[in-house]
Symmetry: C2
Subunit: 372 residues, 2 copies
Amino acid sequence: MAEEPRIDPWGTVEVKDYKRLMEVFGIKPINTILPLLEKAGMKPSAYMRRGIIFGHRDMDRVLEAKIRGEPVAVLTGFMPSGRFHFGHKLTVDQLIYYQNSGFKIFVALADAEAVIVRRIPRREAIRIAVEEYVANMIALGLDPDKTEFYFQTNRGAPYYRLLQLFAGKVTAAEMEAIYGDLTPAKVMAALTQAADILHVELEEYGGYKHVVVPVGADQDPHLRLTRDLADRMGGIISLERPASTYHKMQRGLDGVKMSSSRPDSTIFLTDPLNEAKRKLMKALTGGRATAEEQRRLGGVPESCTVYDMHMYHLMGDEELAKIYRDCRSGAMLCGECKLLAWSKMKDLLERHQQRLEEAREVAWSIVDAPRF
Amino acid sequence: MAEEPRIDPWGTVEVKDYKRLMEVFGIKPINTILPLLEKAGMKPSAYMRRGIIFGHRDMDRVLEAKIRGEPVAVLTGFMPSGRFHFGHKLTVDQLIYYQNSGFKIFVALADAEAVIVRRIPRREAIRIAVEEYVANMIALGLDPDKTEFYFQTNRGAPYYRLLQLFAGKVTAAEMEAIYGDLTPAKVMAALTQAADILHVELEEYGGYKHVVVPVGADQDPHLRLTRDLADRMGGIISLERPASTYHKMQRGLDGVKMSSSRPDSTIFLTDPLNEAKRKLMKALTGGRATAEEQRRLGGVPESCTVYDMHMYHLMGDEELAKIYRDCRSGAMLCGECKLLAWSKMKDLLERHQQRLEEAREVAWSIVDAPRF
């Protein structure tokens, strides 16, 4: 029997073996929802078409509900512990896709987690949440009037009631199997995430809705715990398991995990243009040792972080296919390809940064920031 | 060096060695506050005079604040997991004493703990909290207009914010040293108790007040954790350490720990009179093997659970002193003493039970019971 792949949401291990994850944990290929998407009047997103969103659990149930005209929602959370970068944009693009299709959007600002797990100073976590996260999401196009942003430490009694009641419905052994050694901080963070996902089903937060949570594969342990908690709340309150979709995390520009703590591994959406260009130009590519060799053998887009940028953020399907072919064939070398990426990214960043100042004002006006 | 006495708030171990507890953990004798009590215009309560309340920590600070005219408060919590008995009355009498001296009273209805630690069905915990605890407290004379009763699962964002932030300020090792092996339920219950005690200091709950928590000695680990958490919240919010007083728990009528789960070990304030009398009449006394021997040697009030009832609940100082002398001298035997206790208790229960029906209605009208 195969050993269970252990994935740790607070670790830094990259999950490379998505296929195995799907077999062991019952995540289904994303293409199994295509017929239902169509029935629901939705087109597959670019991330779905490109296999970046590669799997789901129970998304068929959510789409069937939508087809029946029942309320549907998306929840995600951001830990306000650094600057907003292209890795975050991957999730926000998904929110916008669902928002345009009539899903209600909930965004948890994980200030509790930032403080208790990452030890970010409290006021700084609140400022980052509003000025970096909420503002950049609005500037990217998320409609603030149709999005409910909230702080984990400021969400009202029914939300916290879940958190408290969940504590009696999970054993130490179960949490240790997922998170390693227990600490009070980990217990609270894990239960808080479960409350984030499930509270949107409550009457007090606008009534029952079918909820989907778009996550990276490394977040699946949270989802499984949340599903179990939903199952175990019978007799107290009726909660349904959330659906989830799984995406491949974008690599950093150095080919390893993208992280705010290594600023050269990623481009922040607030980077000055010359700074962004500098990072992109020295990004790890799938090029060969020499130009001659590359013309002869072609490049390897699968190993190229610039191709990642094309694929995740910059290009339409046809342009992307052409870049892939021209790289593979050796017709286009890395320098040219980077400049092509930069021309698109420059437009994107300029447009985004123009919107950002106003978005910051909107952000402060719509969030209910906690006093302490 | 002496080994630390280990006391476990969720265990059933009785703390017999109060003196040692005071030496090791720095609890001061209650008589050290007598001059300040007088300055504050308060007389020592019967429980203080009789050594039932035997110690305190920082109560001098609270009394000094009261003398300066600053706001003072008492907080206690009840786990709604059984019927209200004479052991609970011990705490409520203290609340009434403080209320009559101008302290604001806060009562936590520990529905979260009842559900997550004791696994009481949720709706039952809420009913018990209101009909057993709040109603009996009001019938005993606690003024509902001057008392803030609240459910732990229904207390507003600033309270829960403390709970979340506390989670990052205590290590697993510290909690394990106090509570043994950690479970999510214990983590949540311990942090919830700390939030109960400290949230009354917040602006959002009526502004800063000096708070004292009257507890049995077995609850001191909670108090020490809470004090540490208050110390560690600097930089986020300013919290002061709570004061506390310590009382000797009343033994059950069988001489061991009083408990709702052994109904013959205690008299409930809602017991039918014949039932209450039956329990009292067969209570363990400090009597001798024969009447003759008792007349000769006298009884031992220190070993007598009926004398406990006299001392904790039934008699004024002079009557109590006479009972003690008459028992010691052999002038009064156990049968007579029990009937004397019963005559007082009968009046107390009759009066109490007459008030109870109305008190139940008041109870439901003043609490904000959670929906689930």
